[in-house]
């Protein structure tokens, strides 16, 4: 065959042309293109119509209203803020936005579990049926009824009907030991008791304040109600509305709260209260104080003034705090002349109890500038007008139980405190004094991880026969439990969510199940009712309801009866602008109407009458705000005059300065939650790589201190206190004060899922909690430490 050039070209051209003209290659290419875009093993989210369900967040006490987006009425795909809700107004915090990762998370507990082997061994926690689980519990409770006081319940939740049912159960059963996890609220409540004669917590009218001094409060990093604080901060910083407020942060660490303030006073660790008293001194001595308040509504001003003049002159306070005299004087003048102005207290996020005197010092400062019980100031957080339940039916044993000493009481005077003293409980459980603990219940708390100075608590567990966890997640405490009775998560259950910490108006949030419980869990409220009924007698009579819902509804009747307040059915409410004293007309007609609307909108609130009338504001012996606390004297606290006045008590951090030359201070951030749940993957992902790298977490160390110690960024070090040591890496930072090591809390989980387990270390393990002898309140802002390269 002879192929000339022409034929050659023809052959090629003809072949190519013919193929290209046919649809074959094009169709095939297109199909291949489409095929190559598939990737069949990636998940394909289910489609369906979307609905929004309003409910309340319960991941922290912040009380936000949330909206859950459901697909096909069953898959929850998003949580965002409820725009109608007065507290968060559509905003949300990172934890709230991560809520679905708990609902669907791998650390959910699906059934009741019973420890069949060694306590602490997760592999021998075996699933059992609910009947068996509740039977085991009921049998044990029946058996120990004669020693009812041996039942202790630890609740991480401080308010609401479910904690109340737990308290009620213990009361009816005959144990006085319903104990709350520690918090700044303990000191606040005690401080309110001492200075205002009534238990309760402060509510701050922050939205109306023009100047804010925060004494160590992480005001935008989790203090109070986090989302509300963010919203308030945004308003303070609002240029357009012409109401840019001035913020002063008093804090040792260069936190975001410090950086975002207009002024940051980097005080010597633990001296915030001294600065408050220093400001008070200038205000008093220069006569800038609010005379009408001091003259009409305060008691003991002269004694207070004398103390201030003697101990808290700018010179002395400058020496204590490290803030210059000039700065103290200037700030005092500014604070007293800006109206309204308010001072905040509660260290960090408010997880540390702290000293009652710190609270009193700040509260007195508020009093001096006339910010107590005034708009833009601080008042007693109003309570939600819920209807009471019938009285607890006491039988012979529970009557006896009422007289038993509380395990969280350390001395005579403490028994009249309106507050829990958790560290006394730990000590007494450990020593088995004045009596031993048979059974421990843990509800909405994870003390085995979250408790500062955690070791003594874990040791105490070994003296306790039965540990019962009500957790929905495999947390560290649950790992140590003998019996696990998992409740549904907050998105699967009905519950009330009451006014969050620090809020100035009452809010009743209703958490409703947005979808069917994913597992066979039982609502703790229903569990208690069922348990009570099976125990019979007074306990059963104290729980007359058929289920939790009817118990809750009974309390909500109170809202229906009140002729003020409304269901949050429209966006844009600004409750802090609510007319003082005027009534807010309800937008519901009957209880049923109210309930339906609560279920639909998720929230009731009231803005009227939140500042109590002056004649009923203080329940002290003098009927006034007491700078000099007669209440303390009344309940038998002994001491000199200073004891009854706000003052600064220098606390020497634990540890010998010779062995432990530096100071270790824990810090909290909004992006690492401090329990009872562990950080969700969404949030952990956002940690900077100088906070967490691989499984290593970082401590912040000052640039100069690091240089002195020969440490470089990223060096692996051991931080050691007298409690123990942890291995971390160092982040050299200008945020850190010289000679102070800052360690984040909330990491170092050994429970939960692979997304958080083993990441970082648990700072709580090496902190030393120091208890105040008189009040039993504990502080752990600083522990002496040494640090050396691994």
């Amino acid at each position: 065959m002879k192929l000339d050039r022409r034929a050659f070209v023809k052959l090629i051209a003809g072949g190519v042309g013919g193929t290209l003209l046919s649809p074959l290659p094009w169709k095939m290419a297109d199909d291949t293109a489409i095929w190559s875009q598939n990737w069949f093993w990636r998940p394909s989210p289910e489609r369906g119509s979307a609905t929004l369900v309003n409910t309340a967040c319960q991941l922290c006490p912040g009380g936000c209203g949330i909206r859950v987006r459901l697909i096909a009425k069953k898959n929850a795909v998003r949580i965002d803020g409820n725009p109608n809700h007065p507290v968060n107004q559509g905003g949300i915090c990172p934890l709230g936005a991560s809520g679905l990762q708990y609902l669907y998370g791998p650390s959910r507990i699906e059934t009741p579990l019973k420890q069949t082997g060694q306590r602490g061994d997760v592999t021998t926690l075996k699933p059992i049926s609910w009947d068996e689980a509740l039977d085991i519990l009921a049998t044990k409770l029946r058996a120990m009824r004669q020693k009812a006081r041996g039942l202790v319940c630890v609740s991480g939740k401080r308010q609401g009907t479910v904690p109340e049912l737990f308290a009620r159960f213990l009361h009816a059963y005959g144990s006085p030991n319903y104990v709350l996890m520690p918090a700044a609220a303990d000191a606040e409540s005690l401080g309110m008791f001492f200075s205002q004669g009534q238990s309760g917590l402060p509510g701050y009218d922050l939205e109306n304040a023009k100047m804010i001094i925060s004494f160590g409060s992480s005001y935008i990093e989790g203090w109070g109600a986090p989302a509300r604080m963010q919203l308030a901060f945004g308003n303070w910083r609002s240029n357009t509305k012409g109401n840019r407020a001035r913020i002063v942060q008093v804090e040792t660490r260069g936190s975001l709260s410090s950086s975002k303030a207009d002024d940051w006073l980097a005080v010597t660790p633990g001296t915030e209260a001294a600065l408050a008293l220093g400001l008070a001194q200038v205000i008093v001595s220069e006569g800038y104080y609010d005379r009408s308040f001091v003259n009409q509504y305060s008691y003991g001003f002269d004694e207070f003034k004398r103390l201030l003049q003697r101990n808290y002159t700018p010179e002395k306070v400058a020496a204590i705090t490290g803030v210059t005299r000039e700065k103290i004087s200037a700030l005092a003048r500014e604070f007293s002349q800006t109206k309204p102005a308010v001072a905040l207290s509660g260290w960090g996020q408010g997880r540390m109890q702290g000293s009652v005197y710190d609270f009193l010092a700040v509260q007195s400062l508020n009093g001096l500038v006339g910010s107590l019980n005034k708009p833009g100031g601080v008042t007693k957080k109003p309570s939600v007008p819920l209807a009471p339940w019938p009285e607890v039916v006491l039988d012979a044993i529970s009557l006896e139980g009422e007289k038993e000493p509380r395990l969280d009481v350390g001395n005579e005077v403490q028994s009249s405190f309106p507050t829990s003293l958790f560290y006394n409980l730990v000590k007494n459980m450990n020593q088995g004094k004045p009596y031993s603990t048979q059974m421990l219940w843990v509800y909405e708390a994870n003390p085995a991880h979250d408790l500062a100075d955690v070791e003594p608590f874990i040791e105490a567990l070994s003296n306790i026969e039965t540990v019962v966890s009500f957790s929905s997640f495999m947390d560290e405490t649950t790992q140590l439990a003998d019996l696990v009775l998992p409740g549904p998560t907050y998105l699967e259950r009905l519950e009330d969510v009451l006014t969050p910490p620090g809020l100035q108006y009452p809010v009743f949030g209703l958490s409703t199940p947005v979808l069917m419980p994913r597992f066979a869990t039982i609502h703790p409220g229903d569990m208690l009712i069922r348990l009570a009924k099976s125990l019979g007698g007074g306990v059963a009579s104290s729980f007359p309801w058929s289920d939790y819902e009817s118990a809750l509804k009974q309390r909500v009747e109170g809202l229906a009866q009140k002729a003020s307040g409304r269901v949050a059915d429209e966006p844009g409410v600004e409750p802090w602008k609510g007319g003082q004293g005027s009534k807010l007309a309800p937008n519901y007609e009957s209880f049923d109407d109210l309930w339906d609307k609560l279920v639909e909108y998720g929230c009731w609130f009231d803005t009227s009458g939140n500042m109590p009338a002056w004649d009923s504001a203080f329940k002290t012996p003098s009927g006034k705000f007491e700078f000099y606390s007669q209440k303390m004297r009344q309940i038998g606290i002994r001491g000199n005059d200073i004891t009854y006045l706000p003052h600064f008590e220098e606390v020497e951090p634990a540890g010998d300065p010779g062995d432990y030359p530096l100071l270790l201070m824990p810090y909290e951030t909004l992006i690492i939650t401090n329990g009872p749940v562990a950080n969700p993957p969404f949030m952990t992902k956002m940690l900077f790589d100088f906070q967490l790298k691989g499984n290593d977490c970082f401590v912040d160390i000052n640039t100069k201190t690091a240089a002195n110690l020969g440490l470089k960024e990223g060096d692996r070090v051991t931080v050691q206190t007298e409690r123990g040591s942890l291995e971390v890496r160092v982040h050299v930072s200008g945020n850190a004060r010289p000679d102070v090591i800052f360690i984040p809390t909330g990491l170092g989980h050994s429970g939960f899922d692979p997304y958080i387990k083993g990441k970082g270390v648990n700072a709580n393990a090496i902190l030393v909690a120091q208890q105040d002898k008189t009040t039993g309140l504990a502080s752990w802002w600083g522990t002496r430490v040494k640090i050396y390269k691994v």
Partner: protein, 410 residues
């Protein structure tokens, strides 16, 4: 054993020795295949690449070998279009080297993209604004051209040539080779340029960005110039290497010297513009983007890279190649060619890696790129692949037309 396949009248090593040599090569290639397989199977997470370094060793290697492969088109251009007949000695080798570089680059490119099965989307959904589209089109077309240029040589194999269809086909191709050489030159010119354009158009990357002429940033022209200034150097190097290994004279020295001289001129030409460009970049372009020249260099990607690229691997080889006495010295010639090639590799490296290491946002930070074995293995295998093709071609094809004449068998 394979003597029937070996061209007539030339001497080759024993089949056994050859097999042993191939075994070594296959070992390296096998290593590369394992690495490549890992990347395809596990995904690019097994590499040292990340969101900072979207481009890394693969792209550096690709760009470098494509630049070095320019020897093919440029020698072809000189031989067929300009008509430098003495280069016919070397043109076959130049084509083989070009073929290796381009096919090798495409193989590595397949690993480099995250979705290899969608690799052809740039033909199916092309974006005409993208320099990369231009590159992919030109490289593919040019690879086809190289195959066509390589084909007659393959068909000249002693046994294949016996098939009349092959013989005529080969003959016909030879006849129209000038068309392909011209096409190749055109395509090559554009994609070498586009590869430079690839970087020069990144206007949000102050290290890479260059002003330019019409739609083409200066890097477009610089990349063309640098490619033709280094491609022939590689051709010379390979020739010298083959001559060294076979201990034979395969190409007349004047052909090599001519190529070396041309390379020297081109390198000098390129350097003038490169230095001008660097000066303009340092004093005008960078400041216009808010950055100072000094900010572009930080350990390990320090100023030494610039010095190495322009002085050590630029000016020095240019001087050698432009000095007749020096370029006629084999050792100096090799040194110059090696430096020339290294300079181009550095150039492509800084544009690929240093460019991306640089923090553009002031609160950003430098990153350092460390390739993993899965990146090294295919890259090294690329060289082995070259050795394989050259070995096979040399053994079985009449790559060097003058071989018989220069090495008469007694």
């Amino acid at each position: 054993m394979d003597s029937a396949l070996i061209p007539e009248g030339v001497k080759r090593c024993s089949f056994k020795a050859f097999c042993l040599w191939l075994l070594v090569i296959f070992g390296v290639i096998g290593f590369g295949i394992v690495g490549g397989f890992f990347v395809l199977w596990k995904g690019l997470n097994v590499t040292g690449l990340n969101d900072y370094f979207g481009f890394g060793l693969y792209i550096t290697a690709d760009l470098a070998i494509i630049a070095l492969g320019a020897g093919a088109f440029f020698t072809g251009f000189l031989t067929y279009v300009i008509g430098k007949k003495e280069l016919k000695d070397i043109i076959n080798l130049a084509v083989v080297v070009g073929f290796i570089c381009y096919t090798g680059a495409q193989l590595v490119l397949l690993l480099e993209i995250g979705q290899p099965i969608r690799g052809w989307f740039s033909f199916w959904h092309p974006n005409v604004h993208s320099m990369l589209t231009e590159v992919i089109f030109c490289i593919t077309c040019y690879t086809i051209v190289l195959v066509i240029e390589f084909l007659p040589l393959i068909l000249e194999n002693r046994q294949l040539d016996k098939v009349p269809e092959f013989h005529y086909f080969s003959h016909n191709l030879h006849e129209i080779m000038v068309v392909f050489a011209a096409t190749g030159t055109f395509l090559s010119f554009f994609h070498q340029g586009s590869l430079g354009g690839l970087y020069g158009v990144m206007f949000a990357r102050p290290f890479a960005f260059r002003t330019g002429f019409f739609i083409w940033p200066w890097t477009f022209f610089l990349f063309v110039a640098s490619a033709i200034a280094s491609g022939p150097a590689l051709t010379i190097l390979v020739t010298m290497m083959v001559q060294g290994i076979t201990r034979k004279k395969l190409v007349r020295r004047d052909a090599i010297s001519l190529l070396a001289k041309v390379t020297g001129f081109l390198l000098a030409f390129y350097l003038v513009f490169k230095i001008l460009d660097t000066w303009w970049w340092a004093t005008q372009t960078a400041p216009s983007k808010g950055m100072s020249f000094g900010e572009f260099f930080k350990a390990p990607y320090g100023m030494w890279l610039l010095f190495a690229e322009i002085v050590v691997c630029g000016i020095i080889p240019a001087i050698i190649l432009l000095t007749p006495k020096a370029r006629n010295d084999d050792v100096l010639l090799i040194v110059a060619c090696v430096l020339d090639c290294a300079g181009i590799v550095i150039n492509r490296f800084v544009f690929t890696v240093q460019n991306l290491a640089l923090p553009v946002m002031p609160f950003d930070h430098w990153e350092i790129y460390v390739p993993t074995w899965t990146e090294w293995a295919p890259t090294v295998a690329l060289i082995a692949y070259g050795a394989l093709i050259i070995s096979l071609a040399y053994r079985y094809l009449p790559v060097f037309p003058r071989e018989r004449e220069l090495n008469p068998i007694d």
